[in-house]
């Protein structure tokens, strides 16, 4: 297979074989071409060169669910294949079909439920059922566990194993190497559009796969220096709502010179917490920063002026002006503080310290890779004398090298005396960076651990809502 997008050779001469009954993992960094390859196999992207042969239908479950939120489960599952009775849809038959499908595969869902009311794990079942209704010979799963709790991940892979046992060929596209080791029989590693390794999973390990993905050693994180934590941010009974994200009750402190990690599954109130700290949603309860109260009157501008830097989750939608160049984006948030003539040097500092490529302040941000865009967002926050950094998924969707750089800079900011609140859905990231870990589930804080007392199993259970 070959496929080029503009100047990027996304997939460059890749062969891939899937056998009935196997679970194969396809791993690689962001931009390695694995999602493009899956889209080609599914038929959503036409290859420039190459052929596809399949013994039956090919199904694809997307990383970000492609469900119609306002419609019911059966409407989503049977979209465009609805059983008809003359001119109308046979609703009873449709519901029965979805129920039967769920019973067959052990994926019980109420066919009449409206999708937007369902928890993430159930939405994924709906997404899976939609593909299974077409009885695919090949099932492609693109980052299927991104939004699942550890316990949900286990039961999800039980289902996948059941499918494979029935003779379905399964390809799991992922970057979570623990899942690769635990659940796949074969693993294919991609880098820069090419296959750089094919292994029987039993004959390799996570470290070796990671080295292959990166094309060298995985960079080490910055060392943690000794600091003397001092009070900085205090939240007491803070509650807030941002869209569908609800924070029910948050009471915790972040001290200067420490990284506090918030562990939790996506959709458990993290967005409301980040937005309440950024000052873009109203909140109740008490928030104090450096001894002074923060309230609804403290706009984002006033928080920025006090040294609070929020790195939003969605760099493209919430942090960057994609049509603008790097220089003007680096100034965003400090446009009134920085002199116009200083925009360029501020941008050069970010480019230098964060290794932004290309190193050109005039480059249009929308044309940069996700990793370089993220370096600009993080760099802008960390080079502007931050006192508190709220980093919400700061390494989302960026490659291992860029992620290590971002994490190192966060640790350096902590070493230099800033308080860091790290909100992440990746437990490994939190364990690598945080001095303390707080666990959030259903908008409430359900556990607290010091770095020395971190218990991975216990945290996983708390994240899933088990006490």
């Amino acid at each position: 297979m070959r496929r080029r997008f503009g100047a990027v050779q996304a997939v460059d001469g890749v062969d891939l074989e899937l056998f009935p009954g196997e679970i194969q993992a396809l791993v690689g960094e962001n931009g390695a071409g694995k999602s493009t390859l899956a889209a080609i196999a599914y038929g959503a992207v036409r290859p420039d060169e190459g052929t596809i042969e399949a013994t039956g239908a090919v199904g694809l479950v997307h990383q970000h669910f492609k469900l119609i939120q306002r419609l019911r489960v059966w409407e989503n599952v049977l979209l465009n294949r609805e059983p008809k009775r003359g001119w109308t849809i046979d609703v009873a038959a449709a519901q029965a079909r979805v129920r039967a499908l769920g019973a067959t595969y052990g994926l019980a869902v109420d066919p009449d439920a409206v999708v937007e009311t369902l928890p993430v794990g159930i939405k994924q079942r709906v997404e899976l059922l939609r593909e299974l209704d077409r009885e695919p010979a090949v099932l492609l799963l693109d980052e299927p566990t991104a939004a699942l709790a550890p316990s949900e991940i286990a039961s999800f892979f039980e289902t996948v194993r059941g499918l494979a046992a029935r003779g379905t060929a399964v390809l799991v596209v992922t970057h979570k190497l623990a899942e690769v080791i635990a659940y796949s029989q074969r693993v294919t590693v991609m880098r820069a559009g090419r296959v750089v390794g094919r292994h029987l999973t039993a004959e390799t390990n996570a470290e070796a796969i990671a080295r292959e993905m990166v094309g060298g050693e995985v960079p080490a994180l910055a060392a943690r220096a000794a600091t003397t934590p001092a009070p900085l941010l205090a939240l007491r009974d803070v509650a807030a709502t941002a869209g569908i994200s609800t924070l029910a009750n948050a009471s915790f402190d972040v001290r200067a010179g420490e990284i506090v990690g918030i562990a939790g599954i996506e959709g458990n109130g993290q967005s409301a917490l980040a937005d309440a700290l950024a000052g873009v949603v109203p909140f109740t309860g008490e928030m104090r920063f450096a001894g002074e109260a923060l309230d609804a009157a403290d706009s984002p501008a006033s928080r920025i002026a006090r040294g609070i830097r929020v790195i939003p989750q969605d760099r493209r939608g919430e942090a960057l002006v994609l049509d603008w160049n790097v220089r003007d984006n680096v100034a965003l948030g400090r446009q009134r503080v920085l002199a116009r003539a200083a925009y360029g040097s501020a941008a050069l500092e970010v480019i230098e310290r964060f290794d932004v490529r290309p190193p050109n302040p005039e480059a249009i941000v929308g044309m940069l890779s996700g990793g370089n865009q993220q370096k600009i967002v993080v760099g802008r926050a960390l080079t502007s004398a931050p006192r508190l950094v709220v980093a919400y998924q700061p390494t989302r969707g960026i490659d291992i090298g860029a992620a290590a750089l971002v994490q190192s800079r966060l640790i350096e900011a902590r070493n230099a005396g800033a308080g860091v609140l790290l909100i992440s859905f990746e437990l490994d990231e939190i364990f690598a960076c945080a001095d303390r870990v707080l666990v959030i589930a259903s908008g409430a804080f359900v556990g607290a651990f010091e770095r020395s007392t971190i218990d991975r199993g216990r945290i996983g259970a708390l994240m899933a809502g088990h006490q």
């Binding site: 950024a278 873009v280 706009s299 984002p300 501008a301 006033s302 928080r303 920025i304 002026a305 929020v310 939003p312 939608g317 919430e318 942090a319 960057l320 002006v321 994609l322 049509d323 603008w324 003007d328 100034a331 965003l332 948030g333 446009q335 009134r336 116009r340 249009i364 929308g366």
Partner: protein
């Protein structure tokens, strides 16, 4: 995206020309007029004599001001469809105040222009305030305010402020001291200079240069563009979106209102209900054709002025029906603006 749009510029223009001349020729043939004679009259009528050049520049200025105002709002992400109403109200304020106060020229002309800008600015600030305070959709608000502005001024000049008897829908004539130098009347003047040839267009071009500088080089312009290009990121960067909406709409309306005042002081010399044959709407197309860049809007406005003044000649000299003239004008706008919309959709 902007770089992409500009790279498509040459192709856009070519496609537009082919569409305009192609469809325009067919329409003329159907009306039994030779396209060569018809289009020849268009260019000759727009640029053939100094008087015609002056007319072209007057027509260009009439759409330039509202187009610049529209560009300010659009750059801030606000679809100000209300330039027509803002322009009419600005013209009304200039005409009414100008007729009330006999003042020397050095005071009268600036006073009229300021009055027009303030009235248009106030009219633009209303939807800006509604948007900032209640999140009201500015498209609907500005569209409705157009109707109110037209009917309000029509009522005032037919009722409380009626002048001249015989049911004329206009305010009293301005004193001569309040006239802008009239480009057309000055054509035969031996003291004619280029600056006099088109006072309004010169003011408009200076304004375009100032606006461009303000948009690209000042913190005000930076925040306005951030609010328009990425509102969520702008909000999180401490930019007050409500305040930006209010200021941008007021400025947008003020520029359109200033345009209305230049029409009153420059050529009508009083306000009447025929002040604008829809300049505020045509200006939307001019602003978009000019890629919301003040300099390109000047170019687009001059092209439009040529179409307007040349169109009269097309009709009078080549016998092209009025409908075909309107068709050609419409074609130019659709061809250019349409291409731009297509390019924009492709990239987002």
């Amino acid at each position: 995206m902007n770089a992409l749009l500009r790279s498509r510029g040459a192709r856009d223009a070519l496609v537009a020309l082919v569409v305009v001349f192609g469809v325009g020729s067919i329409a003329m043939l159907l009306a039994h007029v030779s396209p060569l004679v018809g289009f020849g009259a268009l260019f000759d009528g727009a640029l053939g004599t100094p008087e015609e050049v002056a007319e072209t520049l007057v027509q260009a200025a009439n759409v330039l001001f509202p187009a610049l105002g529209i560009a300010v709002a659009f750059r801030a992400g606000l679809f100000n469809i209300g330039a027509e109403g803002q322009l009419i109200l600005g013209g009304f304020a200039a005409g009414w105040i100008g007729a009330q106060l006999p003042l020397p020229a050095f005071a009268a002309v600036p006073l009229l222009l300021v009055a027009g800008a303030l009235a248009g600015g106030a009219w633009g600030a209303i939807p800006g305030f509604l948007r900032a305070r209640f999140g009201a959709n500015e498209v609907i608000a500005t569209l409705m305010l157009n109707v109110i502005a037209i009917l309000l001024t029509t009522y005032l000049v037919n009722g409380p402020l009626q002048q001249g008897g015989a049911g004329a829908s206009e305010t009293a004539a301005l004193p001569r001291s309040a006239y802008l130098p009239d480009p057309i009347a000055l054509v035969g003047d031996p003291h004619l200079t280029l600056a006099y040839l088109g006072t309004p267009i010169v003011v408009g071009i200076v304004l375009a240069l100032v606006l461009r500088w303000a948009l690209l080089r000042t913190v005000f312009g930076y925040e306005l563009r951030a609010a328009g290009d990425a509102p969520e990121a702008a909000k999180r960067a401490g930019i007050d979106l409500g305040r930006t909406a209010l200021v941008a709409m007021a400025l947008s309306g003020a520029i359109a209102g200033l345009g209305g005042a230049t029409i009153v002081a420059g050529s009508l010399h009083r306000f009447n209900t025929g002040l604008s044959p829809g300049y505020g709407f045509i200006a939307i197309a001019v602003a978009l054709v000019g890629n919301l860049d003040p300099l390109w809007i000047v170019v687009a406005a001059i092209a439009f002025g040529m179409l307007q003044s040349g169109g009269i000649a097309m009709q009078a000299e080549a016998g092209v029906p009025r409908e075909v003239v309107s068709l050609v004008t419409g074609l130019v706008i659709i061809a250019l603006a349409g291409r731009r919309v297509v390019a924009r959709r492709r990239t987002t």
